[in-house]
């Protein structure tokens, strides 16, 4: 593995291996000295053409945790509108010494375009590309599920036998796409719940079940309910009529939480719209993993950098 562009590219053993390495990184982070020297003298460039302070800080913490130097490039909007091409930006950063490029962009497929183009030799990590993928989010989500559902026995195991519901704006969700591919590789059963307007077309080969409402999904007693951030502008574009209607049909609230098994968990990739896709009480409940996901994010990204560093460029 030289790059991580899509969770589709991860084999079962690579995926389980990354989750196991994440356990070790959680260990490191619980120590008094929270650092490994693995990437000392190496440079990680965070290249964010789309603003995401959380993800950028998480990657930064992960790189620093492995002793790397960090360069940060941020630019709102598309590179082309800034007058400098993507190609020039990346070649500039590599010329400054970057060996790992963490790339976030509002356009789908940018990370693939970069690895296929041969513009740079660096390891490329897709930190979210448009509505395509966000593979490190899926890794930290799978790690969180595995830790919660299997506890001490997690190492070496996958998610075979567990069921995961993903609910809300599937159409525009890079988190969903990365999660679906990874969860299937790990053996979990995935159900998507969304209005037709927020569901992509022709997804028979995704290998997931589809239901219309969150209640239908909860009837199946899932082990995990993953809620997604709803962009408020979707409402004005006519994908659904009102916030109250959305939350009444697809929002995770306390009465729905009570119908889940006590061991079941509720996830959210953040940042949350409390009261829209997830109610405040659910977000703050012991079954919510929201802050745990953030903590695991740093460890999962350390595990990825740690794993990629072993591969020649």
């Amino acid at each position: 593995m030289r790059h991580l562009i899509s969770t589709r590219d991860l084999s079962h053993s690579e995926a389980v291996g990354l989750l196991d390495t994440t356990i070790d990184m959680v260990d490191v982070r619980s120590r008094d000295i929270k650092k490994l020297p693995t990437l000392r003298g190496k440079t990680v460039a965070n290249v964010f053409f789309e603003d995401s302070t959380r993800t950028r800080l998480s990657f930064e913490a992960a790189a620093l945790g492995l002793g790397a130097d960090v360069m940060t490039f941020t630019s709102q909007g598309s590179s082309v509108s800034k007058g400098e091409s993507l190609k020039d930006t990346l070649q500039t950063l590599e010329a400054m010494g970057a060996e790992f490029i963490v790339l976030r962009h509002s356009n789908s497929g940018v990370a693939s375009t970069v690895t296929n183009s041969g513009w740079v030799d660096s390891h490329i990590i897709n930190a979210g590309d448009g509505t395509h993928e966000h593979p490190t989010q899926a890794l930290l989500d799978a790690f969180t599920m595995r830790s919660r559902l299997l506890g001490e026995d997690a190492r070496g195991r996958d998610l075979d036998g567990f069921s995961v519901v993903i609910v809300g704006d599937i159409l525009h969700s890079r988190v969903t796409r990365s999660n679906v591919w990874l969860l299937r590789t790990l053996g979990a059963a995935v159900t998507l719940a969304a209005p037709k307007t927020l569901l992509p077309r022709d997804i028979d080969d995704w290998g997931v079940s589809l239901v219309s409402t969150l209640d239908d999904a909860i009837d199946q007693k899932p082990d995990v309910v993953m809620t997604l951030r709803v962009q408020k502008e979707r409402m004005s574009s006519g994908f659904f009529p009102s916030e109250s209607e959305f939350s009444s049909v697809w929002g995770m609230n306390v009465s729905r939480l009570r119908r889940l098994a006590p061991t079941a968990i509720v996830m959210h990739p953040g940042p949350m719209n409390r009261g829209l896709e997830i109610s405040g009480e659910v977000a703050d409940s012991p079954q919510s993993t929201v802050t745990e996901q953030v903590a695991n994010g740093v460890a999962a990204r350390m595990a990825l950098l740690y794993t990629l560093r072993g591969e020649s460029r």
């Binding site: 598309s78 590179s79 082309v80 091409s85 993507l86 190609k87 962009h105 356009n107 789908s108 497929g109 940018v110 693939s112 375009t113 296929n116 183009s117 590309d129 448009g130 509505t131 395509h132 993928e133 890079r174 796409r177 992509p200 077309r201 022709d202 997804i203 028979d204 080969d205 995704w206």
Partner: protein
Amino acid sequence: MTLLIRGASLVGGSTADILVADGIIREVGTVTSKADRVVDASGLVALPGLVDLHTHLREPGGESAETILSGSRAAAAGGFTTVHAMANTSPVADTAELVEMVVARGRAAGYVDVRPVGAVTRGLGGDQLADIGAMARSSARVTVFSDDGHCVGDALVMRRALEYVSTFGGVIAQHAQDPSLTVDAVMNEGAVSSELGLRGWPRVAEEAIIARDVLLAEYVGARLHVCHVSTAGSVDVVRWAKKRGIAVTAEVTPHHLLLTDESARNYDPIFKVNPPLRTSEDVEALRSAVADGTIDIIATDHAPHTAASKDSSWNDAPFGMVGLESALSIVQLSLVETGHLSWEGVARVMSVAPADIGRVAGYDSPLAVGSPANISLIDPSHSATWSRESLRGRSTNSPFVGRELPGRVIATIFNGTETVIDGMLVEPETVRNA
């Protein structure tokens, strides 16, 4: 100056010599008279000069991607003798002055007959009619009007345009794309776009506009031409309209006859084109539609873009691919070698029929004695891997670079003047002075 083409295979299957003098075909058969120049055409198929109804030459305004001269050279290299230059230049071809300038520059280049397409609406804005009558009555004698790149989306504007253009005997070539259904759309909407997270361009956005337009054309009694049909559903609508007697013609591009949306999987913007590449079912339906005559013509939609503009993300890259040089090879591969079309059929869909739609004189009886000498000699048995050097325009945004393609244009003769000899373009000065 007399030119004798010796031993060419005619599309009907026979072999003949063709004698050209003063730009006119003088004899076809066994020619015994001497000529100033003799071309050995044994093993070569003689096609009538090809006519493209849909070409973007980019001049004025986009000269970094293509010029009238460079695009004319690409056309000649592909076996064309007439191209229709689309109106979406900068400034837009919406006045008599501009279309006359395009004709003048085409004549100065001398490789092909450059026929300007006039805009339907002023500035391609979609609301006010362009100077349609002035363009039709100018020395450029514009017959084809199109806002290509944009759809004439408003139904009332389209109705008026169809009526007004028909007053001058012209035709509207519609880029069928419902604007509201395709906001920010960058590829075919379907399984692949869903997986790639790219904004989908649904087939219904094309089919619904074609359905509306054929009904409008019937209602007002006007001719309609549908640009770059890309879906099986569009074929069904056109077939229905023709059966009903509506005066509609349709074109398909070579790339839509071969490539599918699977090409988008690596996000290489070389495959980004509008309308988007569809599915293999659509490709099959389009091939059958050419075979049964539902689709009348092949048109290239040659759309040059600079390397820099395509060196970007899928979303940021412009739509379009060049196609003049590769058109005949792709038609051979996708239609002739698959048994959908004979060489006679190729002559029809790439020369006779497009000339008829554009009302271009001299193409109605291919290679007939007395016709202007517009001839393309091709070697169908040739096969080669395409490289950037196979492309003769200013831009190289072809999806076929690196691909093995059949067929080669050996010679192109434009009004009796050789523009391509032994597969090589003739130099501009030589063409100009001929």
